[in-house]
Each structure stands twice: as C-alpha cells, then as structure tokens.
C-alpha cells in the first residue's frame, strides 16, 4: 500500500503551478499530515485523465494520493468513469482545497465542484485596476 504524490500539467484550472511548485505543495501537505511519500507519479503534459496514476495503482495498490487541486481531476465522461471505477478505494487528498476523502460519491462531488468553478467567469486581474473593479462591481453587465 503506497502513498503517492501526483504531478500534472502546470495548467491546473485557473492556476499555473510549475512541476517543482506542485512538488512543494504536495510534499508540504504530506509532511503536515504525517504521510510518508513513497512515489511521485508524473502525469504527462497536456493530459488530464490521470491514466498513469491508474496504471501505477494496478501495479502497486495505492493507498493515498495527494494532488494540488480538484482542478486536476478529469473532465471527460469516459475518463471520469475510468477513474472512479479504478480508484474508488484510494484516498484522495487535494492540498490547495484542503479536502480529502474516498469513494465514488466523494470523487464525483469534487469533479462537480471543479466544474462549477470552471464555468464561473473570471475577471483577468492583469487587465484591470482597483477603480475598474469598483466600476465592475456596480455595472449591470455582470
């Protein structure tokens, strides 16, 4: 039974976290929770299916996996189905959200929440200013 941290593409929903940054976040999470990390699973760039993780799980029977965020979970139906079926007994931890759990319901809830946030509009903070933001707050357009 293995404890693993998972590294993915640096584009994680609204966040951009380089690989070493992801390592720092997940390792720090592990340390705070007294988890001894035995495996680092690198998911390929541009992939959001967690297929490598599922393959490793078949070989090594993962007990706990730590990711940075729920935004790293798959979005496509088929990929979600595979993940939920293959990994329902594995405990998932999401460091940035600070949530953890296991089972089909938990994973689907996390995916659903990630989707709600994905669908939310985001103001580009680099293209705005404080006074513009105040105008936005009062504008009927939003």
């Amino acid at each position: 039974m293995t404890i693993a941290i998972i590294n993915t593409d640096m584009n994680i929903g609204p966040f951009r976290i380089p690989g070493n940054g992801q390592n720092m976040i997940t390792n720090n999470y592990a340390e705070r929770n007294n988890f001894k990390v035995e495996e680092i699973i690198p998911e390929p760039f541009k992939s959001r299916s967690l297929a490598t993780t599922q393959w490793v799980h078949k070989k090594k029977r993962l007990k706990i996996v730590i990711l940075c965020s729920i935004h790293q979970l798959p979005l496509e139906k088929k990929r979600i189905k595979d993940l939920v079926n293959n990994m329902k007994k594995v405990e998932f931890h999401f460091a940035l959200e600070g949530i953890s759990g296991k089972g089909k319901r938990f994973l689907l809830d996390c995916i659903q929440e990630a989707k709600i946030f994905k669908d939310a509009r985001i103001i580009d903070s680099q293209k705005t200013s404080w006074s513009k933001l105040y105008k936005i707050k009062n504008s009927k357009k939003y």
């Binding site: 965020s69 940035l96 709600i116 939310a120 509009r121 985001i122 103001i123 404080w130 933001l133 105040y134």
Partner: protein, 235 residues
Amino acid sequence: MKINTLINKEPGYAICSIENMKIFKKLRDSFLKNLKIPHKYKKNINNARVQIAKMSKAEINRSMINFLTFNKNLSEMMINSCPKLIKDLCGKDLFIQRRAHTTINVPGNEHTKQWTHYEMISGISPFTYIFWAPLHDLDDDGGAYHIDLKTSLKIMKKEEKEGLVNGPRVLEMMGLKKPPRLKFGQAIIFNPFVLHGNIPFQSGFARIACNVRFQSCNKPLLQKNTDYLKYFRLS
C-alpha cells in the same frame, strides 16, 4: 434605509442582527468546546476571554490547535445564521470561503493590530461581501472600525494615481476611528472596497470574532478560486 443599499452604497457597511441565534449560539458553544483551556473556564465566554487575555501568542496558538475541528463547519454555520440577508445580497447559489476565520485579539498596546486595509487586497472578487461577528458583547475598543465608502474610494483613487494601492497613506490611518460596540448577536457586513481595521485596546478581556466571505456564484471571480472558495447553496 435598506441594508442592501447601506452595504453596496453608503457607507459601504451595515450593522445587522443575526437572524438565527440558535445556530450562532451553537457556533459559540463549539468555539468554547474546542478551546484548550481548563474546563471550568469554558462555561462562560467572558471567563474564557479573561483566560485568553493572560496568554502569550504561543499559548494562544497552542490553544487553537483544536480549532481545526471548530473551523471545519464554521463557514456554513455563519452563512446559515443570516440566510435571508445573504440571499437578499447574493441569491441562493454562493461561493463561500472554504475556511472561515476566527480571530483572537489580546488587549494591550504591544500587541500588533490589523492595519487599515481594503478586503480587496487578497484578490477576492469585487462582488464579495464580508460578514464579521464577535462572539460576545463588545464593551471596549476591541472591535473593528470601518471607514465610509466615499472616503475609502477617494483614498484608493488618490493612491492609484501614484501607482500604489493600500500603501503608507492607508496604513497610517490606523486609529482614526473608534470601533462600534456591537452586542453578541450583531454582525457587520461590508463590501470589499471599505477600509477597515482595528486598534490596540485596553481591557481585561480578549476579543474573539469570526468572519466569512461570500459572493453570488453567478458573479465573476477574480484571483481566488477553489483554493479559497467553495460552492454552497442556501436551503
């Protein structure tokens, strides 16, 4: 005037009554239960406050270890204690702060206080509201002061022209205003463009307050995302 107008227009904040005191009292009981102080002081919030006022920062931090349990449902409890007002401001579908804050302020001049600031400094969206409530009556200056929106915006624009926001001009404002003396069961709700902070205060009691941020989930986000917010539907 309607609370909605007070919060969104002038003065940018409003003192309101907690709608569901049963939930809010439960919240306070849960705070006391999870506080690491001798049991005999836990029956009454003021006894607990006297004990906390005597503690060092390190001791307070240690006493707060159990707060992780307390803080777990704090956001939902706070939101559910004022559902009508929150629904009026944002509708039923919300993004709420994943982990609401509990702040303990110890009396005495030597203790660092919260400098004057806009809540916007953290990258929450302009559509966010802040709900702040003490867990006891405020009989001294241990509360929080708020500066009216008009003044806050004037300062913001002036600073922005200088290529700065929440700079020294704002930071130096600490202590210009006295905090209102809220009763247990009252809260301040304010918009994120309102300057606020607190001041050193003299008292035999520590000040304990909780705060939570929320916005409509139909309004855009800014920098804060699932790291800070979660989806919540008011029942």
